[in-house]
Amino acid sequence: MGQVVKIALAGEGGQGVQSVAQILTEAAALEGKEILYIPNFGVEQRGGVSIAFVQIGDEKIGAPKFKTGDIVIALSDRAVRRVKMHIGPETIFVYDASIEGVEEDLPANAKQVLAIPALETANKELDPRVFNVLIMGAVIGATRVVTIEKAKEAIEKKLGYKFEKDPELRELNFKAIEKGIELVERMGVA
């Protein structure tokens, strides 16, 4: 079957988990990898928990969905509860440190549980707009599934039109990627 990295990203509608998945898969495509990305969606137009299931490997990916991820990220309290079923003994579980009231819901069976101050870092050190790119940095930091160069190239491809009007935004996004990687590295990923 070859080595496949399985990633599940969950957040509230509007938090940008699907855009993260899109940029991440674009970066993987630029590296010539095989990818399977499937968004999980409900009937609601907005709101509700949105999940992105992403698999990246060297050969064609098999099934679209998986039981347990290698890395599972939750960005809201509801998301923490929702992704519980996708966590197993091999999973690195990452959630935002600002989420309150989920102590009881944190997985007990994960390989590692990391609370990263992503929201706080984005708001205080960068810009709330780059919160999701910072999360993408965290995914890359935990999995090394794509290189930072290709990640930046993919961001340029996806958001280049915005950077033309606001060049500062490019720097912010690139910084967010680096910061995201740093945040998980600082936690010491096993």
Partner: protein, 366 residues
């Protein structure tokens, strides 16, 4: 305005809905009729985005009944016409497709299955198998291709137009919400560059010349006055369907000689089944799989042959026994235990299938 939508071939990364729109374009489809329903909306969206560049048409109708009937109308005028739908839309689609069956109209319909019954979910299922194969008040004289990847979606959407126009039976590409929405790599190509000739279309009505004098009359009927009249037409259609079935039938099989367990799955679930089977086979187990690609007509003889060499069967599907019913019907008379993993409306992972298969191989599960 480019002459061809795809020159040669190229590898792309896209959603299944996008792959269907590209395939229809590559196949030289003239017009799509449709009514929005998740998860097939993006077929319409991409078709309307890509189509105008190549002088293609689109008509949004007031519902799926109308989308089906206008597709028939398009075909009657000699256009390579298609539609796409899902779930409750597929239910409504059965009335026009029953008419297409009655009049032998080569319509092409892409189905992106969602959860049911009723509105169910907008996400995924394999619960439209019975409906797509045998919907309508008829005998299921139609062709149904069950796809399992974006490459299948592209290949079989092109093929569906040719099967429909060659044999003049309504043809369906049966996919699902996962395939519709997920992104993966696919090689899209110009059929001609692969040596695939598109079967030419022709109008059913409005032909040149005087009917009965210069040419036979276009006598299209879906209603009959006496029972025997209907039986005569149906018998001819059934005879023809059964005669061409061996040319249409497609399947995939692996390790079917003397297996302890033969896993049967179709569509996207087949991917999980194949992964589980290959993993267990690599560990020395006598396990194989059988995947029907055409659910109508069904690869009956091929499955019977594989079954005769197996100790037991495991049918896996995201429905509560729709493929199972077809399998049992086709295996009538053979004495073989049939085990099941039936998960209506939810995805099935390779791990779940492997777990079930291991238990069966170890004789731990009756």
């Amino acid at each position: 305005m480019g002459s061809k939508p795809i020159e040669g071939e190229r590898k792309v990364f896209m959603t299944g809905n996008e792959a269907v729109a590209w395939a229809a374009l590559a196949a030289g489809a003239d017009i799509m009729y449709g009514y929005p329903i998740t998860p097939q909306n993006e077929i319409m969206q991409y078709w309307t985005r890509l189509g105008p560049k190549y002088d293609k048409k689109f008509l949004q109708t007031e519902d799926e009944l109308s989308a089906g009937f206008t597709t028939i109308g398009g075909v009657l005028t000699g256009k390579r016409a298609f539609t796409a739908t899902a779930g409750p839309g597929n239910v409504l689609m059965q009335e026009p497709m029953s008419m297409a069956e009655a009049m032998r109209i080569p319509t092409v319909v892409v189905i992106q299955q969602r959860g049911g019954p009723s509105t169910g979910t907008v996400i995924y299922s394999q619960q439209e198998v019975t409906l797509t194969c045998f919907g309508g008040n008829g005998e299921g004289l139609r062709v149904v291709y069950s796809t399992s990847s974006h490459q299948d979606l592209f290949d079989y959407t092109i093929k569906a137009f040719n099967t429909a126009w060659k044999y003049r039976f309504p043809t369906f590409v049966l996919s699902d919400g996962y395939q519709a929405k997920m992104r993966e790599s696919v090689v899209i190509y110009d059929p001609e560059a692969r040596g695939i000739q598109m079967v030419p279309t022709e109008p059913y009505v409005g032909k040149a010349g005087t009917p009965g004098k210069d040419r036979p009359a276009a006598h299209l009927r879906n209603t009959y006055n006496i029972e025997e009249e209907l039986l005569e037409v149906l018998s001819k259609d059934i005879e023809e369907y059964e005669r061409v079935a061996p040319e249409i039938i497609e399947y995939d099989a692996y390790n079917t000689e003397n297996t302890d367990l033969l896993v049967i799955a179709h569509g996207v679930v087949f991917r999980s089944a194949a992964m589980a089977v290959k993993e267990l086979a690599s560990q020395g187990n006598k396990i194989g799989y059988f995947r029907p690609i055409t659910l109508r007509p069904f690869p009956k003889e091929q499955l019977r042959q594989a079954t005769q060499q197996a100790k037991q069967l495991l049918v896996v599907e995201s429905a509560y026994g729709q493929l199972l019913k077809i399998v049992k019907d086709n295996l009538y008379g053979l004495n073989i235990p049939i085990k099941t993993l039936l998960r209506p409306g939810v995805g099935i992972t390779p791990e779940e299938i492997a777990e079930k298969a291991k238990a069966l191989l170890a004789g731990k599960e009756a």
